[in-house]
Amino acid sequence: MAEKKKTYVEDIERTLYDIKNADHSVYKSHSGLTPEIVRDISQRKHDPEWMTQFRLKSLEVYDSLALPTWGPSLEELNMDDIVTYVQPDAKMTGKWEEVPEDIKDTFDRLGIPEAEKTSLGGVGAQYDSEVVYHSIQEDMVKQGVIYTDMETALREHGDIVQEYFMKLVPPKDHKFAALHGAVWSGGSFVYVPEGVHVEMPLQSYFRLNAAGAGQFEHTLIIVEKNASLHFIEGCSAPKYNVTNLHAGCVELFVKEGARLRYSTIENWSRNMMNLNTKRALVEKDGLIEWVSGSFGSHISCLYPCSVLHGENARCEFTGVTFASKGQNLDTGASVIHAAPHTSANINTRTISKAGGKATYRSAVKVTKNAPYAKCSVNCESLMLDNLSRSDTLPVMDIEGDEADIGHEAKIGRISDEAIFYLTSRGIDEEEARAMIVRGFVEPIAKELPLEYALEMNNLVNIELEGTMG
């Protein structure tokens, strides 16, 4: 029976994410944040001097900035309790066999090495604060593609890193960007040379194992002129009773005529505060495609931003957010049209249930320099009960008269008539509901890499279990 199978899936899924490994870290910073701690992290990471200074400066900015006055309350986050740097007992390696057993087991269970064999062009895996494994196909390397951890990039391609690092998301952007600048560790660096098409996706997986820790990985991707890339990011963590913090930063540079697809499935455990900043700068004729699934975390603030900087630059944003019990997921997107004939499509779905709170928040800005800008936004929210909340707060700020901007939003529940229609075809009510919810997120699911789409379907099934009386 289908129902039985669902329960089976639930068991596997939850166990899978929730396995906690013993904490074998070789070094942990003291919790809290002081110049000494930052200096200590910098030293252990063998930063070049400019980076040490960058970190210390970011810390100053961090101390000078207040918490945001909008969005979910972040009061329960106490930085004094967060361990900002946890160094696992492993050296970065390009050989899977060299990854320590318990860490390897974790990624094995998550299916990472399997995916690498079958459908990926390269894989990176980060465990707590450091990347433990990185590999890329030989022929990619021959074409000049660089895919490595940020630390290696800083050593071997320091000039490129220095040119781009936190230029798009400067530390003064907001408090958590500053925090990131001070204590960042790990993450991926990708460089795709002019005209190179990376056929198979590259995937980085981030796993936070240590309790009460923060993960601050930095992802820097540069796709040169007329090149293309699909990058996949996955995140998970076991559940603890203390707050964990994720304040990553993603900077994407899409050059003239280049294309970048950036897919994320975020399934952090529900003690996580996910305050991630993602931004893309898109040059002439370039395209950024965001595919973003937010399922995990206790609190999430995530609004990937696309700066359409060159003429004809485009942005496609596809997002789904599912907020269940104890979750406050504040997600959305922002687009800045800064050049003529730029265009953007934003398409999102949010679901809330069992007291979960889902907010869609967005900003579309068209500057004076962007005549003939086009933007269309469509967001739909589905509420599965009246314990939950669903809010939509989009802002459009348009200068000039040559822009064409449309926005549409809907909020509601599963219609009784749709249930009747499906049950009149022999499908029982529970399955009919599940089908409708899966159908609701389908436009998003079909944009996801297959294994993530399946994972999302499983999550929907798990979440819908027991919602029928």
Binding site: T69, W70, G71, R361, A363, K365, K368, P371, S381, M383, L384, D385, N386, S388, R389, S390, D391, T392, L393, P394, V395, M396, D397, I398, E399, G400, D401, E402, A403, D404, I405, G406, H407, E408, A409, K410, I411, G412, R413
Partner: protein
């Protein structure tokens, strides 16, 4: 209310850099506040026209008892050298109906807040607004409809046209409170932008704490439909005349709600005059 810098705020804040969280008190607004109270008894039907020419601040409180109906028309044609602010609060009882038509066309700087509390079951709010900005005018609007009763029906229709260097922010909120089962809400804003120097901000907010609701909002911002313009010009109109006609057509559903023919004709003439300058 004049002493505070903030005149009105949206129910849920967002990024500060967007400058939409608050409506500021217009500079140079006189400290004097005029107040009006409108009481509609149970079952009574009342029409009130607020023909606004005086600058300064106006506060209106309307209470519509169960089964009552209020047709409120607010036409703001304050002199373009002055500032005007208005705050209108409406309580809508069980089965009661609030029909509102507003024209924000005058004043150098306009700040307006409308709050409708649909407290009663089966209450109806039908809000139609028109704004018109040209020159260096600033128009700052914040309309909030709170749907609290069961089976409430809210409709917010806003049409606008912006010329010259006008700067406008429209915030429209539909708030489905817990218990508003069976309620429906719809909000539309259509903005025509007729000049390169216009700044237009639109903030359509929808908040929901109830699943058994049907909420919908849509915004469209753009220049005029070129097909329409072409059609009119093929009938011999020049561009300015054609534009004028299209703007008027866009305003018509709002103006049609003004029963007072004299006032309607006056608003019409006023808009015509301003459009011809643009």
């Amino acid at each position: 209310m004049i002493s505070e810098e903030i005149f009105s705020a949206i129910p849920m804040r967002t990024w500060r850099w967007l400058n939409v969280n608050e409506v500021k008190v217009p500079a140079g607004l006189s400290a004097e506040v005029k107040t009006e109270k409108i009481l509609v008894e149970a079952g009574e039907s009342k029409s009130v026209v607020l023909d606004r020419r005086e600058p300064g601040a106006l506060e209106v409180q309307a209470h519509i008892a169960d089964g009552g109906e209020l047709n409120l028309i607010y036409a703001q044609l304050v002199d373009e050298k002055d500032a005007a602010a208005s705050r209108i609060k409406v309580y809508v009882g069980k089965g009661a109906k609030f029909n509102y038509t507003t024209v924000e066309a005058g004043a150098k700087h306009t700040a307006a807040e409308l709050t409708v509390d649909m407290a009663g079951n089966d209450s109806v709010a039908d809000v139609w607004g028109l704004y018109f900005g040209d020159g260096e005018r600033k128009i700052d609007l914040n309309y909030i409809i709170r749907q609290q009763g069961r089976r409430t029906d809210a409709n917010m229709q806003v049409r606008g046209a912006l010329l010259g260097g006008a700067e406008k922010t429209f915030r429209g909120t539909l708030d489905f409170l817990e218990g508003s089962k069976g309620s429906v809400g719809r909000e539309d804003e259509e903005v025509m932008v007729l000049s390169d120097h216009v700044q237009n901000r639109s903030v359509p907010i929808m908040l929901s704490h109830e699943d058994d609701v049907d909420g919908h909002h849509a915004v469209s911002i753009g220049k005029m439909d070129e097909g329409k313009l072409f059609y009119l010009m093929s009938r011999g109109l020049d561009l300015a005349e054609a534009q004028k006609l299209v703007v008027e057509a866009n305003f018509q559903p709002v103006l049609d709600r003004i029963a007072d023919e004299e006032l309607k004709a006056e608003i019409d003439a006023y808009l015509q005059r301003r459009l011809s300058h643009g």
